[in-house]
């Protein structure tokens, strides 16, 4: 008796189709329609009194290719890519989680709860916390001055570094919690095998662990890159105007200058660039066995 003949298959198929159509409907209403609207508006003319005037013009896109917006684009890509790489691989999440999964269950739980708490904090609270910590009067500069490491302590924000710190903080808890189950459940005997084959313990993460997690790390870096591209509060709170990312510029143009068509055109171009970069990264990081 097959699933089709006893009627189970058509019922399942019907449920799957309904669920699929629902998902497609939600996607259309909340993503595709606003996107289409944004693309259409990007060809309208700016009208400070009414946000836009219905027309068809390339003017907004021509403005993008002025050196100012190109510079902002490059700066945005650089700062978010840097933050994404830092948060995922170089310093924090991967190495931190490699250490945390070696702790006792009790301490692992403590760190997971702490990371979850961090993830629950709003961007504004995280930004303000760093603003205080990096300020001249109450934060790290003052502490360094008191300890004699800094003769002339000054506020460390706003700055490019402060903005990167803010972005990294936002991404850290998310990436760590994604990596936690993968690292905790990994087969440690692979690393032990590397040791018995002559790899010094301090080189095992570089020769074995990192290469094994290469695909996950690339996927996480790309995810973080896309996530951090859209972050608005951190660049505004912790960065200088010269450090502001395209997200801030888009918001500034669309809401501050009431130039919705230019904001929409900038957003469309950023979307295309991000998509192209993601496709390129995925192509370059195809899984290969060497």
């Amino acid at each position: 008796m097959t699933g089709r003949s006893n009627g189970a298959y058509p019922v399942n198929s019907f449920v799957v189709r309904i669920l699929g159509l629902t998902a497609f409907g939600i996607l259309s209403v909340f993503f595709l329609l606003p996107l289409a609207y944004m693309v259409v508006v990007s060809f309208y003319k700016a009208d400070p009194m009414a946000f836009y005037q219905v027309a068809f013009t390339w003017e907004n896109y021509q403005k993008y290719f002025s050196s100012f917006y190109l510079n902002v684009t490059l700066r945005t890509l650089w700062s978010t890519a840097l933050s994404a790489v830092v948060v995922v691989v170089v310093v924090l999440a991967f190495t931190a989680m490699l250490t945390i999964v070696e702790l006792s269950r009790k301490w692992q739980l403590f760190w997971v709860i702490l990371l979850l708490s961090m993830m629950c904090l709003s961007e504004v609270i995280v930004g303000f916390s760093w603003l205080i910590l990096l300020s001249e009067s109450a934060g790290i500069p003052r502490l360094l001055g008191a300890l004699g490491f800094w003769d002339d302590p000054r506020s460390l924000s706003p700055s490019f570094g402060a903005m990167i710190i803010g972005l990294v903080t936002l991404g850290f808890s998310v990436v760590s919690l994604v990596l936690y189950p993968q690292l905790a459940g990994r087969d440690k005997s692979v690393e032990e095998a590397a040791r018995t084959l002559g790899t010094p313990p301090y080189l095992v993460p570089f020769y074995v662990t990192l290469p094994i997690f290469r695909q996950s790390l690339i996927a996480l870096t790309l995810t973080m890159f896309v996530y951090l591209l859209g972050v608005f509060v951190m660049p505004v709170m912790l960065g200088r105007p010269s450090d502001w990312t395209m997200t801030v510029m888009i918001s500034d143009k669309a809401l501050g200058d009431a130039n919705l068509p230019l904001g929409a055109a900038l957003a469309v171009v950023m979307l295309i660039i991000t998509g192209a970069l993601l496709l390129l990264s995925l192509y370059l990081s195809r899984k290969r066995t060497v």
């Binding site: 087969d187 692979v190 032990e192 095998a193 018995t196 084959l197 790899t199 074995v208 066995t289």
Partner: protein, 349 residues
Amino acid sequence: MSELILSGVGKRFGKTVALADVSLQIQSGEFICLLGSSGCGKTTLLRIIAGLEQCDHGELHLDGVALSKLASHKRNIGMVFQSLALFPHLNVSRNISYGLKMRGVSAETTNARVAELLELTGLDGFENRSVVSLSGGQKQRVAIARALALEPQLFLMDEPFSALDAGLRDHLQQEVKKLQRQLAVTTIFVTHDQSEAMSLADRIVILNNGNIEQAGTPKEVYQRPLTRFVAEFIGSNNLLDVDIDENSVMYKNHYLGSPQGSVENLRGRQTLVVRPEAMKLHARHDASQVLHGTVTMQRTVGALVECDIDVDGQVIKHTALQNSDTEVSIGDSVTLSCDWTEQWCLPGE
């Protein structure tokens, strides 16, 4: 030629004693099986030898060199892990050559060694395949080739065949034994499967609660168990508590014979170890025989027929070939005969 000497090796995990006080000498070229049930300490001992765990006390010497002073990556020990632990990001050839590259062996020598091992393990033509795409048996061969690439002084295997089906396991057991004889590498093989240990080992070391119960050839541990644990663990034994004096060997008021053979010089309460296949079963009550009972279970396992016979409240196991003249059914009254005085008595029991 590599001789391993373990002296008083002990290890605790918190309050749990994994290894109590293990001393063992393993001769060069010997194939040793560490046999025991789960948690008996066999894998811990293997990991201590490999340098993946530190012992709390005791000494390990490999060819006179104290191993406890050497980190795992500096010991020339090849190990096959239970999970095989192949590097999933490397192909077959690079998995095998990994250790050689770590030790700075030249590319030319490495390539020659890899080719030799591929041939030896029957993996010719698989060198560029991803290890992820290999079958279970092929993965085993890669793990073995990788461990042997450095021509290790010691070859360790931690239950490598436990996840394989019976047919493939038998086949690989024979291949490993052949390979070990061919290379004459001192090998320690951990298993909880006594038939695997019996078929592979030159010597079996039986562990229980972190202690060595007995170390001996498969024949010795099967026929001459030194402790009650070994007698019960290896194969299927009947342990009969007998009283021996100058004139008789008595079991529950049954006269088994006069003390002679292996029990000739023993006196008092002893434990007689009787193999199920050492007894004969008589379907009819025979007054000349001494043990009478009732068949409570019968099952056919391949060519053998196994029976449980209730004798005065104690279940005695009996095994015979299926084409045996004697055929019985559950509930039948039967008689057991045996040359009782030729059986083995547990020393010190």
